[in-house]
Amino acid sequence: MRGLRKGRCCVTPLIKASNLSIHRSGTTEAVLKQVDFSIRPGEIVTVVGPNGSGKSSLIRALLGHMPLASGGVARKAGLRIGYVPQKLQLDSAIPMTVRRFLSLPRRVSDSVARTALETTGVPGIEQRQLTRLSGGQFQRVLLARALLHEPDLLVLDEPTQGLDQPGIVAFYQLIEDVRQKTGAAILLVSHDLLVVMRASDRVICLNGHICCEGTPEDVSVDPAYHALFGSGARGTLALYHHHHDHDHGAVCEPKLGQGGFSVSANDTHVTEQTRA
């Protein structure tokens, strides 16, 4: 059910960053300090953290768009990355159909474009103008564009900003489906604490450095996680009911005990309803 193409051990990571530090541009003020990160084929990793915690900087550094103050990033040779940027500002001054947008900057055939749009649940909108799409449709078009060249890794930076709650839940469902279908690893940045975790194999809490890291179950009971997100983080526990194999021995072992989270029937009901 994990959808991994290969076994967990002995697999070279797609991206491996070690001892990564980044400074705010033009200063020596550290945005990220000594971060180690890696992602394996087929894995879904979510980076959570408050605003200004360096989430987007981490992504940019991993993509190679940002100068490093120290440390290094190793990408697997020939790694194909599909990228969905944060808050894409679209200017109405440039006319652009969905179909034409999918051919930027590399042209793709009609059938490839059609398949990608079908995969992300927006079939047949090729001739619509980008500026005429709803927020949810636009995110799905961006995801379709990221899938065009059969990426080994999908990177999504806050992909659900501006979506309503049902839209967010549906979008994460879609991401999980995409992983199942394509086998691509997925790296997510998010602050949708309530929903994001259910789809992740591994969660990383970031606040300038890695506060805690591990399976969603482990992280959700980690004191560092609660220190970062306060009592609001409790909601994560209530909604989180995605059972799968635990991966103990991760960096953050639960310290509060398993009794720390229980599934409220009421909250579960709400989730199922919005997902339907």
């Binding site: 990228y83 034409r100 930027l104």
Partner: protein
């Protein structure tokens, strides 16, 4: 055939129209509408420099225009808004140009003759220059098209695809500077600024893709040149302004039939 000044004017206008369609579309997409005016103002400085150092006016205006393009790119890359940068540079270049030209007595007498060309006075050499410049810039645009359009839609998407948006911005600014500087001497600043903006703006409402917009803008520019020249002959009106007026009429018509 090239002996006829009307034919030469038509060919000069058509050469410009070919390149102002796609180039003007970028001007509209990237909100660089004042680029033409800024370069025109900077040309005054170019004229002063050319006269002071006894070199070709073309060379002087072209180098100042290119320096402008680089400055525009550097300043916007450092986070200044495009319209602010163009405003600052346009006025500074004009002021520096007027100060500089006051030190060159020979230039003071007929500054406007150096600056504002007349499309009816176009010579064979000018014609060759315009067509060579236009074809070079067209080839450049065709070569960089996918990258430049991607960088215009969104810089982060472009970077993720290995495109440097700052480089594409610099190339676009340089292409604009070359075309504007060449055209100002030949057809005047009013005509070249207008040919960049008005046909592209007229094309905007009707099209679905960037390529269609560039083609339609070129078409409108070509028709504007032809009909403006015809009108100027018919009514004995000044040619440059007649061409601009014709394009303005097409813009107005396009607004009526605009898809909302």
């Amino acid at each position: 055939m090239l002996d006829d000044f009307l034919i030469r004017a038509l060919l000069a206008g058509l050469g410009l129209a070919l390149v102002t369609g796609p180039l003007g579309s970028f001007v509209v997409w990237r909100r660089m509408a004042y680029f033409g005016d800024s370069t025109a103002h900077a040309s005054i400085l170019g004229v002063a420099i050319s006269l002071a150092f006894h070199m070709s006016i073309y060379l002087g205006t072209l180098s100042v225009a290119i320096a402008m393009a680089v400055l525009v790119t550097v300043l916007t890359n450092r986070g200044q808004a495009m319209d602010t940068v163009l405003g600052v540079l346009a006025h500074s270049a004009l002021a520096f140009g007027l100060v500089a030209i006051s030190f060159v007595p020979s230039a003071r007498s007929d500054l406007s003759a150096f600056l504002f060309g007349d499309i009816l006075a176009v010579q064979r050499f000018d014609l060759a220059l315009i067509w060579a410049g236009a074809l070079c810039v067209l080839a450049l645009l065709c070569w960089r098209w996918q990258r430049m359009v991607t960088a215009t839609v969104n810089e982060e998407l472009a970077m993720a695809a290995g495109i440097d948006p700052r480089l594409e911005r610099l190339i676009l600014s340089l292409a604009l500077a070359v075309v504007v500087a060449l055209a100002i001497r030949v057809v005047g600043s009013l005509l070249i600024s207008a040919l960049l903006i008005v046909p592209a703006a007229a094309a905007r409402g009707r099209v679905s893709t960037p390529e269609k917009m560039a083609l339609l803008a070129t078409g409108i520019a070509v028709i504007s040149v032809a009909s403006g020249l015809w009108a100027s002959l018919q009514f004995d009106s000044p040619t440059g302004p007649s061409i601009v007026s014709a394009s303005a009429v097409y813009f107005a018509i396009a607004q009526i039939f605009r898809r909302v």
